[in-house]
């Protein structure tokens, strides 16, 4: 691959692992700042849905209200069609409405002698596009709490659109792996060694993508990082491809906003 030929930043998809919700790609011919911006936006600015308000009618479980609400908030809700929902702050309604929120009800009572697990499966959504995420049909769902005979939870959960800047529950990614220069040719870092760096430092999975420098190769002090290895691991709320795509759109939108503002300036 000849990087010099490309005009702008390029993306090479390496693999998609649906089971592990991972997308691995290489961003190349690109500046470090842009690559990091993409990473940060994927982590913190891609909007998703998450339960934000809980109206508790009845909670006789052992978990106290605030703990239960916190647990509900962390349940991943499918957010593929997030664009159809507006932010509450941009909506005209007073508190929340159909346009800016999705109501899920949790209504479980245990009447059997054995304990009852309340799981994400018990959350009933009013919007088929925004439901708790299950990895498969067999997935029993996240355990919210456990009920003993006679105990009951009855509550309305209001899911809202948000970003992870505000709270981690809105993050679409579990982690974003990010690496450049696997052989440390740029000497950005110094490996701490006892005897031999080559022996003590394992070469990562991205090491094969680049040619390891020979022991006598001269140091190119002008070189800059330009090939970035990403692995995006989603939480399941949206496809990792969506996450990257939406993040790129957000990068784009940010640039567009700057351009628009510049145009508004009067000289």
């Amino acid at each position: 691959m000849n990087l010099g030929d490309a005009k702008g930043p390029q993306v090479t998809i390496r693999s998609i692992d649906h089971e592990r919700k991972q997308l691995s790609f290489i961003l190349w011919n690109c500046d470090l700042a842009v690559a990091n911006a993409l990473r940060r936006i994927m982590m913190a600015e891609v909007p998703t849905m998450a339960i934000d308000l809980v109206d508790i009618e009845q909670n006789s479980s052992v978990l106290v209200d605030e703990m239960l609400s916190h647990r509900l908030g962390l349940i991943p809700l499918t957010s593929t069609n997030i664009r159809d929902i507006t932010y509450t702050r941009d909506c005209n309604c007073a508190e929340y409405c159909q346009n800016c929120s999705v109501v899920l009800t949790l209504n479980v009572r245990c009447d059997s002698d054995t304990n009852r697990d309340v799981t994400a499966r018990d959350l009933i959504s009013t919007n088929p596009n925004v439901t708790p995420y299950f990895s498969s049909e067999e997935d029993a769902g996240v355990v919210i709490c456990k009920l003993r005979k006679g105990q009951e939870v009855r509550m309305r959960c209001i899911a809202k659109k948000g970003t992870s800047k505000e709270h981690a529950k809105w993050s679409p990614v579990a982690a974003v792996a990010f690496e450049y220069d696997p052989h440390n040719k740029l000497r950005h870092t110094t490996y701490w060694v006892e005897t031999d760096a080559l022996k003590e430092w394992p070469v990562g999975p991205n090491g094969a993508e680049e040619v390891a420098p020979g022991p006598d190769d001269p140091f190119d002090y002008k070189a800059k990082p330009e090939k970035f290895y990403f692995v995006v691991e989603g939480t399941g709320v949206m496809d990792p491809r969506d996450i990257v795509e939406k993040a790129l759109m957000l990068v784009h939108a940010k640039v567009v906003f700057v351009v628009q503002d510049l145009q508004k300036l009067k000289w």
Binding site: L32, R39, Y180, H188, T189, T190
Partner: protein
């Protein structure tokens, strides 16, 4: 057949190598698992039989067993306990029907009444229904209702008139507080399942009392070892009298009922020996010869021979004994009878003996009750006194060393149950005395009413005496104050009990192993008592002691240390010892014994020749030591009773043989018998063979090499034993024992520090403190607890890295922290000076989320009593309405209240209360109005529980409630966290995940700490934990972090490094990381791993203090102090100094005057006084008319100086208000302050 010493030695030689099993290094190959499912099964289905974790259940053993011994104490499960022994020892009291102060009265034919207690019964706690008893009362109910856990106590009071027939009457002694899980407790043998049913934790181990709903326990206390004479050298002894020297031999004698009487034998420079003891807090001195002669009919020659033991060549000794014997001639009492009579005549009053007893009887009583009370026979007491005299002379001659009373060798433990029994004994005695006094009063004032034959009169007398011992015991437990007229032979009067705080489980369990030196030593200026002595090895934990004022005084038992509470059967020991060649003094006679010593006066020569040498024990060459062994005749004692004499060589052989029998369980030698053989030495400890079988001794298990069985070793004998720590330490032919594990010496909490052997030792001490301050899981029965304050970590985790003991103690049931990904890096500067950075996302996902529960009891009956209510009928009622549901409030008010309160006047569960919100409402019958109490708090809280509390049978109107409030405490900036290695710090910043550094795999740390936290503190254990945690997380198993598993050849870093390499990570635990802000790789690779973090209970929410204006002090007008009262923070002298040094005088004036007690006042320019200007009433009106707005200036004309009698010089100045106060105070002392006003 007993093996000869040589065979047993050989055994130890041959077996020592094979005996040391794979305890130390072999364990590293084991892979640990979290056993989560197993624990879940146990939690769902608690066992119906044994406790889940035997070691946890054994934690309270010293407390529970000692309490049980009050009721049953003996080798066989007989009915007699310490209490029975106590009332037997108390004996009887007698009173006469005539005034005994009247000399003319004859006691011969007057009626005499004698009374005593014959038995005491204590019932299990029960609920009282009506007048009878109902169901069992359980501890959880006591906690919930805020009452005491106690059982009915009854005594049989017996009496006989003129030694006639015995009559008896059952008397109620009130309710005795009962220790939870003791033999009088309703959940004594409860299985975990039953415990859960009774609203307890499945691992509840008891050992404490419940007093007014609060759990309190009697702290273990260190006291001198009983029945063992120790040589002392105290300068304070010289203050006892003119010729007193600083030498003494002291012994603390303990009776069968665990009550004690100490006595000290003093050496006087004129050769006399005085025996000192205290009785009812007064001190008495008696010449020891008087007692010796009173004990046994002896001649001077006999005494001389007994004391010198035929060592007539030792002129030092013979001279002293001669002086002693000569000095006694002056007293002119010779025979045993005369001596007894003489003692009786002197101590009749002190002993408060019956008026009709003769001097001889009193003398006998004295010998029985005061002198060496641990012995029964006069002969035994005589022998022991002789031994003490010999030891004292030996000490004075410099032949033996001083014993260290601060060494655990000469110490034992005062157990809660024993103290409890002693205190009860004294109170029982007080009842008998009280009855005596009452009858005597009656005899004096109303002689006609006194009739011993009349049951009516006697029951009247009995009812006048306060018999409520239960209440006194409850007071003792509630306050820890010992209200006593004897002092119980103890050195302190308060601080005996402590609250078993359930702050977290570590703190809770460490209370039961804590052992205090005594509050007397806390005030001592010398620090010698605080020293960690090698004698404490294995008994007291060297790590687990607080720093600061209680350092070294408050210790903790090592986790293997046991305290003997049972009474051992040692009746066969004297015969056994005799069969091994120990001679009887009496049988042989002094002469015979002297001839047994091969070389007559040789031993004394050996010693006295070197008198000028240093007194420390010196190593002897083998020839000389052999001579020492053969020539020295030493005393053989069992529990402070001389059971024979033998040459040192024989004594050693006896000790070795007994030990073999003891461990192998032969010849009925109990395992808990302590066999302390002190070898003869030059200037070392006084030699002898001292055996101890009594309760309250510290014992610990070690492996006995000759037969590879577990031996119990006591703190006295350990000093002269050869115990190897690890198998490398075994020296063939010398080593007899080996430790079970090197961690045996650590307490439970110290054992829970992972890799503590890698840390600098003070850090492990800090962790022992911080582990006890962490927010964790204090209990599982939250809905049934009413503690004042409870801290709970909602998101606790099982640590990945845990020592072996963590599993054995089942600590997973009580998580105490969270596993955190920790990066050691200086990042953004917010991790300077021990601050740490928390990932905002980790926080949002629940990292360190805690809750505080606060409790409040509201008792209307008490309120009524306090406000002077007289009727027993309640006049206050919870509720928003009066009788017949008549509301006395406006609709508006009602609506406001109903948002928070129900009709019953109590808050709704789940309501969020803010400062000033209505908390509860009470209707008052007297004022016919509803009074609402407001919620006062710095922070808002949820109502978690409202508990309605009634009386025993539930028949009373609701007068008491308990409200539990829940305060959510998510971690905020300023909250304190720590790792398990004494590395504490506060959260300084919560960075969003995107700004946190990240590794190539996208991992961001939860916590960032600064690398500067390590070089000076050297907590390498934390690095190892990080490494182990990381590999454990990667491989999915838990890691064994037991200390002393690794060594130079098998390093921890290599072991975990290999594991990391196998997972594809760097061997050293480092990773290249990138800045979250720029995405640039860091110049250095970062040490990142998983460390278990504790959230400490110190939180800013409890500490922040801020004020602009607020309450001021009445006298000085300066802001008051105290956060609770909304006060300010003092800008003190040092702060003032620094402002002065900066030259910022305006700030200084602003702080010290304008923001503090700024005031304006009138001053008289003429005389310069600010106290003399005074307002003149007649002129006040004119001033008001002037229409000026300034209050001070408007009345200026109305002010006149008292001294100058004019208002000419009056002016107004600004001063700090305290200055005015100072001037006023000085006036009172005739000092005038004159101000020069420019």
């Amino acid at each position: 057949m007993p093996p000869t010493p040589s065979t047993s030695k050989e055994k130890s030689k041959t077996k020592s190598a094979a005996a040391v099993t794979d305890t130390v290094t072999a364990a590293r190959t084991r892979i640990d698992h979290f056993n989560t499912l197993q624990r879940q099964v146990l939690a769902k289905n608690p066992s119906k039989g044994r406790p889940h974790h035997a070691r946890i259940a054994a934690l309270s053993a010293p407390h529970v067993d000692s309490f049980n011994s009050i009721f049953v104490h003996g080798p066989i499960a007989s009915a007699s306990g310490l209490l029975d022994a106590a009332i037997a020892d108390l004996g009887s009291r007698s009173v006469f029907a005539v005034n005994t102060n009247d000399q003319s009265a004859s006691l011969k034919n007057t009626p005499k009444i004698k009374f005593w207690f014959s038995s005491i019964t204590v019932a299990k706690p029960q609920i009282e229904v009506g007048r009878g008893l109902g169901n069992s009362l359980y501890p959880s109910e006591c906690r919930e209702r805020g009452i005491s856990y106690k059982g009915k106590m009854q005594a049989k009071l017996c009496w006989s008139v003129n030694n006639g027939p015995v009559q008896s009457d059952p008397r109620s002694l009130g309710h005795l507080p009962i220790m939870v899980r003791s033999s009088k407790c309703n959940i004594q043998d409860a299985s975990p399942r039953e415990l859960v049913k009774r609203h307890e934790d499945s691992s509840e181990f008891g050992g404490y009392f419940i007093v007014n709903g609060i759990e309190r326990l009697i702290r273990l206390l260190i006291v001198p070892r009983r029945n063992h004479a120790i040589a002392l050298l105290r300068p304070s002894f010289m203050k006892r009298g003119p010729t007193y020297s600083h030498f003494g031999v002291s012994i603390r004698c303990v009776r069968g009922d665990m009550s004690s009487q100490s006595m000290t034998l003093h050496y006087l420079t004129d050769g006399a020996l005085q025996l000192r003891f205290s009785y009812k807090k007064s001190e008495y001195m008696v010449p020891v010869l008087l007692i010796l002669r009173a004990l046994q009919e002896t001649s001077d020659r006999d005494l001389f021979m007994r004391i010198t033991q035929g060592r007539t060549g030792n002129t030092f000794l013979t001279d002293r004994v001669e002086l002693l014997l000569r000095g006694f001639q002056g007293l002119a009492v010779h025979s045993r009878q005369e001596c007894r009579g003489y003692i009786g005549s002197k101590f009749h009053v002190m002993l408060d003996s019956p008026e009709d007893s003769t001097d001889l009887e009193v003398g006998e009583e004295f010998l029985k009750r005061i002198v060496l009370v641990h012995l029964e026979k006069d002969q035994e007491k005589f022998d022991m006194l002789i031994f003490m005299i010999q030891k004292l002379y030996s000490l004075v001659a410099g032949e033996c060393a001083v014993d260290n009373p601060d060494s655990p060798q000469h110490q034992e433990v005062l157990l809660g149950g024993h103290l409890f029994a002693n205190y009860m004994k004294e109170k029982l005695g007080d009842i008998l005395d009280g009855i005596c006094t009452q009858i005597k009063t009656d005899v004096r004032r109303f002689p006609a009413t006194v009739d011993f034959q009349s049951k009516i009169y006697l029951s009247k007398v009995f009812s006048k005496v306060n018999c409520d011992i239960g209440k006194k015991m409850e007071y003792f437990l509630a306050t820890g104050n010992l209200v006593s007229n004897t002092g119980l032979d103890l050195q302190q009067v308060s601080g005996y009990t402590i609250v078993a705080e359930k702050l977290n489980f570590y703190r809770y369990l460490s209370h039961f192993g804590s052992i205090h030196r005594g509050s007397f030593f806390a005030e001592l200026k010398t620090t010698t008592v605080r020293k960690l002595l090698p004698e404490a090895w294995g008994f007291l934990c060297p790590v687990h002691t607080p720093d600061g004022s209680p350092c070294g005084l408050l210790n903790h038992l090592s986790h293997t240390c046991r305290i003997v509470t049972a009474q051992l059967d040692v009746s066969g020991i004297p015969a056994l010892v005799a069969s091994l060649g120990v001679g009887q003094m009496r049988g042989l006679g002094p002469k015979a014994l002297a001839s047994e010593v091969q070389n007559g006066d040789a031993p004394t020569k050996v010693d006295s020749d070197d008198e000028d040498d240093e007194t420390d024990a010196v190593e002897l060459d083998p020839r000389e030591s052999k001579k020492l062994l053969q020539n020295n005749v030493v005393s053989v004692q069992l529990d402070g009773k001389c059971i024979g004499y033998a040459t040192a060589a024989t004594a050693k052989r006896v000790a070795d043989t007994l030990r073999y029998w003891k461990v192998s369980g032969e010849h009925g030698v109990p395992l808990d018998l302590e066999i302390g053989y002190v070898p003869p030495s030059k200037g070392g400890q006084y030699p002898g063979l001292f055996m101890f079988s009594t309760a309250a001794r510290m014992m610990r298990p070690v492996t006995y090499l000759p037969n590879n069985k577990t031996d119990m070793v006591g703190s006295f004998e350990q000093v002269y034993m050869d115990i190897a720590c690890v198998k490398e330490d075994v020296v063939a032919g010398i080593t007899t024992h080996i430790e079970l594990h090197p961690t045996s010496m650590l307490s439970v909490v110290a054992n829970l520090t992972p890799f503590s052997d890698f840390n600098q030792s003070p850090r492990n001490m800090y962790q022992c403190q911080m582990g006890k301050q962490a927010m964790g899981t204090p209990a599982h029965n939250f809905p049934h607890r009413t503690d004042n304050k409870l801290y709970r970590l909602q998101t606790g985790q099982s640590p990945i890295v845990r020592p072996n003991l963590y599993n054995e103690y089942g600590m997973d049931e009580y998580p105490n922290g969270m596993n955190a990904v920790v990066a050691v890096i200086a990042y953004t500067g917010y991790d300077m000076e021990d601050a740490s950075i928390l990932s905002k996302s980790a926080h949002e996902r629940g990292y360190g989320y805690g809750t505080v529960y606060k409790s409040e009891f509201i008792d209307l009956a008490e309120k009524q009593k306090r406000s002077g209510g007289t009727t027993t009928k309640p006049t206050l009622h919870f509720g928003l309405f009066g009788e017949n549901n008549v509301s006395y409030m406006s609709e508006e008010m009602k609506a406001k209240l109903e948002a928070f309160l129900d009709d019953d006047g109590l808050p709704r569960i789940g309501t969020l209360l803010n400062d000033g919100d209505p908390f509860y409402a009470v209707f008052d019958d007297v004022t016919q109005s509803v009074s609402v109490t407001k919620f006062k708090s710095f922070e808002s809280a949820y109502v978690d529980e409202v508990r309605l509390i009634g009386n025993d049978d539930g028949s009373s109107e609701l007068q008491k409630v308990h409200i539990k409030l829940r305060i959510p405490r998510p971690p905020v900036i300023g909250d304190k966290f720590s790792s398990r290695h004494g590395q504490k710090g506060v959260i300084s910043q919560k960075w969003p995940t995107i700004d946190m550094p990240f590794s190539e795999s996208g991992i961001t740390p939860d916590v960032i700490i600064n690398p500067h936290a390590f070089p000076s503190r050297m907590t390498i254990g934390m690095f190892v934990e990080s490494l182990a945690g990381k590999s454990g997380a990667l491989h999915g198993h838990s890691q064994d972090a037991t200390p002393f598993q690794f060594n130079e050849d098998h390093a921890a870093a290599d072991f975990f490094g290999d594991e990391l390499t196998a997972a594809g990570f760097n061997f050293h635990g480092n990773e290249p990381m990138y800045s979250g802000i720029t995405g640039q790789e860091f110049k250095a690779d970062i040490y990142i791993g998983v460390v278990y973090y504790q959230r400490l209970r110190h939180m800013v929410s409890d500490k922040y203090q801020v004020r602009t204006t607020g309450p001021i002090h009445n006298l000085t007008h300066q802001p008051i102090k105290g956060r609770k009262r909304f006060g300010g923070i003092r800008l003190g002298e040092m702060e003032r100094d620094s402002l002065l040094a900066h030259g910022v005088s305006f700030i200084l004036q602003d702080r010290l005057m304008n923001c503090s007690d700024y005031s304006q006042t009138h001053v008289c320019r003429l005389c310069g006084s600010i106290v003399s200007p005074i307002a003149i009433a007649s002129k006040l009106g004119s001033g008001l008319d002037s229409g000026s707005s300034d209050r001070l200036s408007e009345s200026r004309d109305a002010i006149e100086c008292l001294m100058c009698e004019t208002s000419k010089g009056i002016d107004v100045i600004a001063i700090p208000y305290v200055f005015r106060y100072l001037c006023a105070e000085l006036v009172a002392m005739n000092v005038k302050i004159k101000l020069d006003i420019a």
